[in-house]
């Protein structure tokens, strides 16, 4: 009897101990929750963080802009009826470069006398349409070119490079004899786009810098244009829906813009305050060797390593040096990259130098593969280099003549960007 009673007491004690143990375990787990959560990726492997030095208020604005950037639009919220994509974020996944699925198609002509197809809804095709509507196709006689969305990260820095600095890099007559004669894209800008204080003007045209052919002036124009041309969303700046020449219809503009100015400005602020892509493995010997090769074979003549921002009320953007590997100028890239389509003063074979920052992270935004150049036709960095003609021809030849070791080092450097 006594033994039984002792065993029973023992059993009760064991039960109590077990439950106390489990309770303690839960308390430990909940107190150390963060230890059980996945860690953050390295800062240099993502592109969606804000620049340093934002105030609490600016951080809130950044987050509101990020939400707007990733919002998926629907019929109810203004999408379409014709569109290319349903959100900013779907073209710039992770604020990185775009995927061919969200490439947009521009159409027009091969000369620079202006777009002859404005009555056909030029310059952009909206090939997708809400159910019950018809998507557009390229009209007969028009030339066209596909554009992949560029990296969104770091564009706030590019916006602040002064016109003066851009002109200083320009060498239209190739006076230095290096075979490079970059020119800015002088283009007209809509009345609602406010030029910068020290903007250079030539025949009523301004130096534009965004877009594959550098035909867009600033981020405000870029964002309002993308809402309208890419998503079919009206704003006070662009109050009409895209026209569909196939059906001869242009849905009547809504009485109120489909999104507010605050939404447009929110996305602009978000883009302006996105951090620039961060280089990885900068101190790696192979990477440093590759960087030297990059300069020695003339890549840096167009893909300028360092630029400087002008004045900005945002501390992190105010007169700082940054490393985008672009000169923001147009260059003749030869016959292979001539799509017979002109935009602004950019000729058919002319393309604005693509910033190389973030190049090594392309695969992380393009589903594990890489789709490089303006339309994603190159599937590796080497292939992209081999497409360089015109002003890039000399560097391409230099690249081909490199030893295997130097070529590998160069690729490793480019992958570190």
């Amino acid at each position: 009897m006594i033994l039984n009673s002792l065993f029973a007491q023992n059993k009760k004690m064991k039960n109590k101990l077990a439950f106390t143990g489990i309770l303690i375990l839960f308390v430990i787990i909940f107190n150390a929750c963060e230890k059980f959560l996945p860690s953050a990726p390295e800062a240099d492997s993502v592109m969606d963080a804000p620049i340093d030095g934002l105030t609490y208020e600016q951080n809130k604005l950044f987050l509101e802009g990020a939400e707007e950037f990733d919002e998926v639009y629907t019929t109810e919220t203004g999408l379409g009826p014709l569109f290319v994509s349903t959100s900013c974020g779907s073209c710039h996944a992770g604020d990185n470069r775009g995927h061919p699925f969200t490439a947009l198609t521009r159409f027009g002509q091969s000369d620079t006398t202006g777009n002859k197809f404005l009555d056909f809804g030029a310059p952009q095709i909206q090939h997708r349409a809400l159910p019950g509507f018809v998507g557009e196709t390229i009209p007969n006689g028009a030339t066209s070119s596909k554009f992949l969305a560029p990296i969104a990260s770091g564009v706030g820095f590019l916006e602040l490079v002064s016109d003066e600095d851009i002109l200083a890099m320009s060498d239209p007559l190739d006076q230095n004899g290096d075979g490079i004669s970059g020119v800015p894209n002088w283009n007209t800008i809509p009345g609602w786009v406010k030029p910068f204080k020290d903007a250079k003007v030539k025949n009523g045209k301004y130096i534009c810098r965004f877009g594959r052919k550098g035909a867009t002036y600033n981020l405000h124009q870029q964002v309002a244009g993308a809402f309208n041309n890419d998503m079919g969303i009206t704003t006070t700046f662009l109050p009409n829906n895209p026209f569909n020449y196939l059906t001869g219809t242009q849905p009547a503009p809504p009485s109120e813009p489909e999104i507010t100015d605050a939404s447009v400005n929110g996305v602009v602020f978000y883009l302006q305050t996105l951090q620039a892509p961060i280089q990885r493995n900068m101190d790696d010997e192979e990477v440093m060797k590759g960087k030297a090769v990059f300069k020695s074979i003339g890549c840096e003549n167009c893909h300028k390593e360092t630029l400087k921002t002008g004045p900005s009320p945002l501390k992190g953007l105010n007169q700082v040096e940054f490393h985008p590997y672009t000169d923001l100028l147009l260059h003749d890239m030869g016959a292979e990259l001539n799509d017979s389509y002109t935009e602004g003063s950019a000729l058919a074979s002319e393309w604005r130098t693509t910033p190389l920052w973030g190049l090594g992270l392309s695969a992380d935004a393009q589903g594990g593969k890489v789709f490089l150049l303006h339309d994603g036709r190159a599937h590796s960095i080497s292939e992209a280099i081999q497409y360089h003609g015109g002003e890039g021809d000399k560097s391409r030849k230099n690249f081909t003549d490199l030893t295997e070791s130097d070529r590998n080092a160069l690729i490793k450097f480019l992958e570190s960007l």
């Binding site: 039960n15 839960f26 929750c33 998926v72 569109f83 779907s90 996944a93 061919p100 699925f101």
Partner: protein, 414 residues
């Protein structure tokens, strides 16, 4: 006059007594007993709505019941966490009555996340002509998959519902309609069928803020209990078979036009269908110590060719729960307490296929593994601890985001 009152009073008392008798029997048949006795009883998932504990009173002609689900949660994705939260997932109230012989009524009203969503999830009357032929009309749970029919929180050792039962089949999927159901018993076997016509989904299936094909987005139309968006009925049918030894298998099918294709007599669009095929199973092994439940669902949706591939025309999901009872005996004063461990594995592809532009795989895939520890003081109450590991790729199949979630919660019938 007095006579009429007496007559009515007698009728009421009789009704209350009948209810009491029926629901006392329903209580014996409740989950609590199911868990503690033979889980291979001749019951199907389709019986879940009536197989719940109810509170009855001699004076009331109706039986009442319900359950709550609440939990704490700490979650983080790729190093970013919003911290710790308490969550009141849902409060559900049931009410049932036996109106007359072979005529039953039940309703289920749910309050989700406080009062953020208030839904009538079920509200129907059953007219039984024969066990094989029961007419049901009202707001009906579409019998697609098993979880949609058998989703009460206290029945599960996992806090989150499986993605297959939220992202693919939007549990609780119910709609207004009518149809037939019935059962046939033979020795160790029971076979059941259900077939209903209901209102269907709406255009938001492929035009929603989720940015993916979603039956869940297409079910939230506030007018759905009043007007069929397409003006045509949706068909849902299920057959299930259970054997005492082997468990239950069910196959279900649902199809209907989801878009508005005509207005004021004019055709404004093509007819587009949403189709769902689901298979489910459950079994108990090792003298009911090991319980395995699983479900597979495939959705096919007509998407216009000039629309965006972001909204997929095919999606699928599957999950399996394995629950093992470690201990079942008197614990901490509860006579039939139970300590379970379990694991859920789940996989969902919201967009099958390849991009037209690149012939590369379209992503938008999710997977999760969820170990759990659950203590059941009784069959109707559970205290559960879950640790969820989840991965998700974006539309392009880029490196997946990782989310871990720690949850401790309770769920109980009352």
């Amino acid at each position: 006059m007095k006579k009429t009152y007496t007559f009515r009073l007698r009728k009421l008392i009789l009704l209350a007594l009948t209810c009491y008798a029926i629901h006392a029997s329903a209580q014996n048949d409740s989950l609590m007993n199911t868990k503690s006795t033979d889980s291979a009883k001749t019951r199907l998932n389709m019986d879940a709505i009536y197989n719940r504990p109810f509170l009855v009173s001699n004076k009331l002609p109706v039986a009442l019941g319900g359950y709550i689900e609440a939990n704490t949660q700490y979650s983080g994705t790729d190093g970013v966490t919003e911290g710790f939260s308490f969550q009141m997932r849902r409060l559900t109230l049931f009410m049932s009555s036996t109106i007359a012989k072979n005529i039953k009524f039940l309703t289920e009203i749910e309050f989700e996340e406080g009062t953020k969503e208030i839904n009538i999830e079920f509200c129907a009357a059953d007219f039984q002509f024969n066990p094989l032929l029961v007419f049901r009309g009202g707001i009906i749970m579409n019998p697609i998959g098993a979880y949609n029919q058998n989703h009460d929180g206290p029945r599960w050792d996992f806090i989150d519902r499986p993605l297959t039962a939220t992202g693919i089949i939007p549990t609780t999927l119910s709609n207004v309609g009518a149809g037939l159901h019935g059962k046939y018993f033979m020795h160790n076997w029971i076979m059941g069928y259900e077939f209903y016509l209901t209102n269907g989904f709406d255009d938001k299936v492929i035009d929603n803020e989720e940015g993916r094909t979603s039956l869940g987005a297409g079910k939230s139309n506030a007018d759905k209990f009043d007007v069929s968006n397409s003006g045509t009925p949706m068909y849902t049918g299920k057959v299930a078979i259970r054997n005492r030894q082997f468990g239950e298998i069910g196959i279900s099918y649902m199809r209907g036009i989801y878009n508005k294709f005509r207005a004021d007599g004019l055709k404004i669009d093509d007819k587009r269908y949403a189709t769902v095929l689901a298979a489910d199973f459950n079994t108990s092994l090792l003298k009911n110590k090991l319980n395995i439940t699983g479900e597979f669902a495939r959705v096919m949706v007509d998407v216009p060719s000039t629309y965006t591939q972001q909204y997929g025309s095919k999606q699928w999901g599957a999950y399996t729960d394995v629950i093992y009872t470690l201990v079942k005996r008197k614990m901490l004063g509860w006579n039939s307490a139970q300590l379970n461990v379990g694991l859920r594995g789940e996989l969902v592809d919201y967009n099958e296929g390849v991009f037209t532009e690149t012939s590369t795989n379209i992503g938008d895939e999710f997977w999760a593994l969820v170990p759990c520890l659950a203590f059941r003081p009784s069959g109707t109450t559970v205290i559960r601890f879950n640790y969820r590991f989840e991965g998700a790729t974006d539309l392009f199949g880029n490196p997946p985001s990782r989310t871990n979630t720690i949850q401790l919660g309770i769920s109980s019938y009352f």
